[in-house]
Symmetry: C2
Subunit: 494 residues, 2 copies
């Protein structure tokens, strides 16, 4: 159902006039086309997939982005938007013969408005620059992906990124008030605005998380929050995983919404202690919970005490409470380095990003362990327990031929398990190129056709980041063919 990207069908294309048009818009230096320079753009954070783009363009302004997109539109050339290229689902994976439009030089913080608690940024601004710019005045930007020192706000918008603090504060879409967007036809459009309550269709919401398929955000208005008066971090360790899972549900059921609530299993604990040596995470624990409570001093104190009691009631062996910033950082340090630590334990790891209802936590963790055994791989778990966003890490060796395919099969089984218990294929990494073949496990043909109608409305020539999100028979085999064949009443218009 997704049209094949125009460029794929035209590999004999004469790029010279297109390059000349780009040079006229952005200048010689901002049009990359030498093979060795294109190498770094071959993949994003999903390094197992690679494809070289034909050209990389680095515009500096909204007008330049619009003019570049317009050239693509007029010449039927597919383009792939890219921020910092740290995405984990291949959302910025080039397709052959495409133009990669990267926003990495659009790095200006345009406006800071404390009275209305908002900032306006260009898309290439790095996530934690926003907090850095406003923290001196007691504010911060809430969404905090693990990659926050390198990922860009534009990429966060494309993938609707999350982070440790999403349990209480929501994901990117909850913090984007407005967008200036270049649509795939090259038009400049304003979506949303400074005001939270806007009439008309909520196209800001559609755009956030649309994985670069509805256009390129060139100015983003973000909500900033007042930093809480007090933050406390608790570390509780458990001798069995089920008890830790039950504690998570009990904390929420008590009406406490922690700023973050993370869980790590024994394998993750040991990986972290081997590499980071925090000396805080007990190596013999089946699981640890890291719980952050924030708010007024009195509120954080009372809630921390209640969390301690709930943890003890559910069999926690020890509970440590850290109040001052250095102690808090020590407790968090291992969690934040967990993925990197895995990389030192195993030649490669494959990280999944499924979501499950919190109440299914214990069952799903058991099932993941048994799926790992069945497929013959170790699976470590480090995840956002509070919102049921799992990150199973499958350890493997990519140098062994055929291993990646087997690991992807196990990853697929885990995702299907998440969907079966009423969950979701992705919590914060997006579908991208990686998970589109699983879409039919979660969405009906009619559901996906409705999304495609919206895609078609924005992108009539299907040139904006094709080959993402939607399954196609070519890559996803018979399953996708069946979906494509089962037409929605009006999809035959496309």
């Amino acid at each position: 159902m997704v049209a094949v990207a125009a460029s794929q069908a035209q590999s004999g294309r004469d790029w010279q006039p297109i390059i000349a048009a780009f040079v006229a818009i952005v200048g010689e230096d901002a049009v990359v086309r030498r093979k060795e320079e294109l190498l770094v753009y071959e993949c994003d954070g999903l390094t197992s997939y690679r494809e070289r783009p034909a050209i990389v363009v680095l515009p500096r302004t909204t007008e330049e982005v619009a003019a570049v997109v317009r050239v693509c539109y007029e010449n039927d050339v597919a383009f792939v938007p890219r921020g910092s290229g740290t995405g984990l689902s291949g959302g910025a994976l080039p397709i052959s013969e495409c133009v990669l439009i990267t926003t990495s030089v659009m790095r200006q913080i345009i406006d800071i408005d404390y009275d209305n608690q908002q900032v306006v940024v260009q898309p290439g601004v790095i996530n934690n620059w926003v907090t850095q710019a406003v923290s001196g005045d007691g504010f911060y930007y809430a969404p905090d992906p693990s990659s926050q020192i390198i990922c860009s706000i534009g990429g966060n918008v494309a993938e609707n990124s999350g982070g440790v603090h999403c349990l209480k504060y929501g994901v990117t879409t909850n913090h984007v008030l407005g967008l200036k967007v270049v649509t795939p036809t090259g038009a400049i459009v304003e979506l949303g605005g400074e005001i939270l309550e806007m009439p008309g269709y909520d196209l800001t919401g559609v755009f956030v998380g649309s994985e670069g398929m509805l256009g390129i955000a060139t100015e983003i208005t973000l909500r900033i929050l007042k930093a809480p008066e007090s933050v406390k971090v608790l570390l509780a360790d458990f001798m069995d995983v089920e008890a830790a899972g039950a504690t998570v549900s009990a904390i929420i059921a008590a009406g406490i919404i922690p700023g973050g609530m993370e869980m790590m299993d024994n394998m993750s604990i040991n990986a972290v202690e081997d590499v980071v040596k925090t000396n805080c995470y007990p190596r013999d624990a089946a699981a640890i919970l890291l719980v952050e409570v924030d708010g007024l001093e009195i509120e954080a104190t009372v809630n921390a005490q209640r969390v301690v009691e709930i943890c003890r009631h559910h069999g926690a062996r020890n509970v440590t409470v850290a109040t001052d910033p250095a102690d808090r950082d020590t407790l968090w340090k291992g969690r934040k380095a967990a993925f990197a630590a895995m990389g030192k334990m195993s030649p490669d790891y494959y990280v999944q990003d499924g979501v499950i209802p919190r109440t299914q936590l214990q069952y799903v963790l058991r099932e993941i362990a048994s799926l790992g055994q069945k497929h013959g791989y170790d699976v470590a778990n480090v995840f956002h327990a509070g919102d049921g966003n799992l990150h199973p890490l499958i350890l493997y060796n990519n140098a062994v031929p055929g291993e990646l395919e087997k690991v992807e099969e196990l990853g697929g089984d885990i995702l299907r398990l998440c969907v079966e218990v009423g969950g979701s294929l992705s919590g914060e990494h997006g579908i991208g190129a990686e998970k589109r073949c699983y879409m039919p496990d979660m969405f009906s043909a009619a559901d996906m056709a409705t999304m495609q109608l919206v895609k078609q409305a924005f992108d009539p020539k299907q040139i904006a980041n094709p080959t993402k999100l939607f399954p196609t028979p070519k890559t996803c085999g018979e399953g996708a063919r069946a979906v494509a064949a089962k037409q929605f009443p009006d999809v035959d218009r496309f």
Copy 2:
């Protein structure tokens, strides 16, 4: 640009086969077509506009809604969805020769899931039935429009309704997790789901607030919240409006987000005291603030004390704090009855629903007063001060010919003022039939064209609630004609 509804062009239509088709789907009793029975459906809460539908259909299930819509689709008949008909912007105003599809008999609460804090309801379920159904177990549904004892969840979804508690807890869109929807082509589609973090385009967000123009929601999954341990309500009175406005900003700037923060001016205070006789609101005050703080007992106590201090610091004359439920209700009673009280002060009133940045509160209130003087009307103000959502009430007499038009002109000036200071045409009532002519004051032609592309994607025949939201030259005159003429690159496809 908006296609004229098919039915408008075909007033000679033979309705008999269509009626027969409806009767076959929903039965004889659920198809209303006698003139005197149709009378009650002629308008919604915006009673100054009236139009009789050709037929009213009352389906009971998703399948019946789909079949009814399919008949409309196949016969090119426009349909208007309707919930309880309490909307204030004419979103459910029939158009001549249309089918009005009302969901008022779809009143089942389908599922309550406390573990995952969600309920599934049919669209005709009344807003406060949801809270009633779960309050015994310590939960509640947050969005609370003034009409909550009569308005339906389906209507709340269509208009993205707000209420007193939206400052802290957000509007309807922040509480809708998933939707089963009948699209304007008659397809049944699932948008979103039980999980907050969903991949794919966020079509749930687009649908919420789409004013019945993208289809009819037939099952709605709502988030319910744990009731706070403690709630306190503060009443502060001020001798000048500016001081009250400054207090609102200061409370937010202190990092306190009250559950609700409402303001009433002297005219509203006196109207309420004349009618409701609360004996709490001082008649000589220029303005009062009602501030509700909630959370843990200790948190509410501390925050109430901080609010008292901020109010005093900004010149409040008296500050009363109510802790027990009966005292809280007494303080709220006048605010909740304010619109009704206005109805007793003046033969008619016209309520506006603009939003402004909180920091512009003092300036805008001054300007509204002077606009009122200029046009020769009294304007009372009762509003959600915390989120800058104004509800100026223009008092007038509809029996005097020409008055409504003059009042609408003043209302238009107020809305334009809101937009000029960076605000919005609507906070919670929607655009509907009432405010579509103002859309070009807020949105560019390209912005609106993008919305229309999405509308067209869902509704290729433009049969779902036409004549709402978008301006048309016929009703909105030359301004709209200019907008329509200034074509967006691809709008000429329609």
